[in-house]
């Protein structure tokens, strides 16, 4: 019975893939060409994907932030309270020295990628992931240390709230939610594209704090088996 269902599902999947194959290749009419033509003058960011993520589809980014928040909260709920002590061995000299070297490097790279998201490939999500790893590496090197969960929750909450507040400020001005504000500046300079760098900074801090909290929670677990 189960084998028959799997076979039927594979048949349906093969039909779906064949249908997608028939429509491969550039489409004649889609909104991407319009956005490519109009984004540099309307939004002013040198990276068009950033202007799509934050300006044209800003609501999608807001929903994605809430999905991440739900996942991180659910991880905290399922794992429960942190155990008092950990039974890990000492991590060794190489890992300790390497972690002391890596932490400032990763921090600088992460902050750079977050701040320059509207100029070069990068942005809040990539930089946030790098920041989370930057704050986790010292925990790997010294197994007894704990990440301060109160700071992580505070930063996460404030960053998420500031993203929504910046979006609401556009409502105050009479435009739609999350319209870019603050004027467009010179193309290609750091202070261009209005409120987009601020939004991406908020996203980067939120994602970084969330994922660092998840990693720290997971690392502090006692081995189950």
């Amino acid at each position: 019975m189960r084998r028959a269902a799997s076979l039927l599902f594979l048949l349906g999947l093969a039909l779906l893939l064949a249908a997608i194959y028939r429509h491969l290749g550039p489409n004649a009419a889609n909104v991407g060409q319009l956005i490519d033509a109009r984004a540099p003058t309307e939004v002013g960011a040198a990276n068009i994907v950033t202007s799509v993520v934050l300006a044209y589809r800003g609501l999608d980014t807001l929903v994605e932030l809430s999905i991440l928040f739900t996942a991180a909260t659910a991880v905290g709920l399922v794992l429960g309270r942190e155990p008092a002590a950990t039974s890990d061995r000492d991590a060794g000299f190489i890992l300790r020295a390497g972690a002391d070297l890596f932490f400032p490097l990763l921090l600088v790279v992460g902050i750079y990628i977050v701040l320059h998201g509207h100029l070069t490939p990068g942005g809040g999500f990539q930089g946030g992931v790098i920041l989370a790893c930057a704050f986790f590496v010292p925990l790997l090197a010294r197994p007894g240390r704990r990440l301060d969960q109160r700071w992580a929750s505070l930063i996460e909450g404030l960053a998420g709230a500031s993203f929504i507040v910046i979006g609401l400020l556009a409502l105050v001005g009479g435009e739609a939610f999350l319209t870019p504000l603050l004027g467009k500046g010179g193309m290609g300079s750091l202070f261009s594209a209005g409120s987009l760098p601020l939004l991406y900074t908020a996203v980067g801090l939120k994602v970084g704090a969330e994922l660092a909290g998840v990693l720290a929670r997971l690392a502090a677990q006692q081995p189950v088996a």
Binding site: V49, P121, I130, L215, A219, Q221, Q222, P223, V224
Partner: protein, 86 residues
């Protein structure tokens, strides 16, 4: 440049099959990281540098870290415990 892409695709699919067939879980995790890295190179070939950076940071970095922590906490990384047959 489709022959470069073909080689990377072959490496990626071989590593994906290896994820399912390798007995040791840490080796399967390494194969999954190879799939993520090959995928990020393919994203660069597809002219999507933002997505390539995200896939490299998330797939090969954070995702593998999450899996490794979970494998260690499940006790599947000590010695070489044989897993149940598929």
């Amino acid at each position: 440049m489709s022959w470069v892409a073909s080689i990377i695709v072959i490496v990626m699919l071989a590593a994906a099959v290896a994820v399912l067939l390798l007995k040791d879980f840490l080796s399967a995790l390494a194969a999954l990281a190879v799939v993520s890295l090959a995928l990020s190179v393919l994203f660069v070939i597809l002219r999507a540098p933002d997505v390539a950076m995200t896939e490299a940071a998330v797939g090969a970095g954070l995702g593998s870290l999450l899996f490794a922590l979970a494998i260690r906490r499940m006790g599947l990384a000590r010695g070489h415990k044989p897993e149940d047959r598929p």
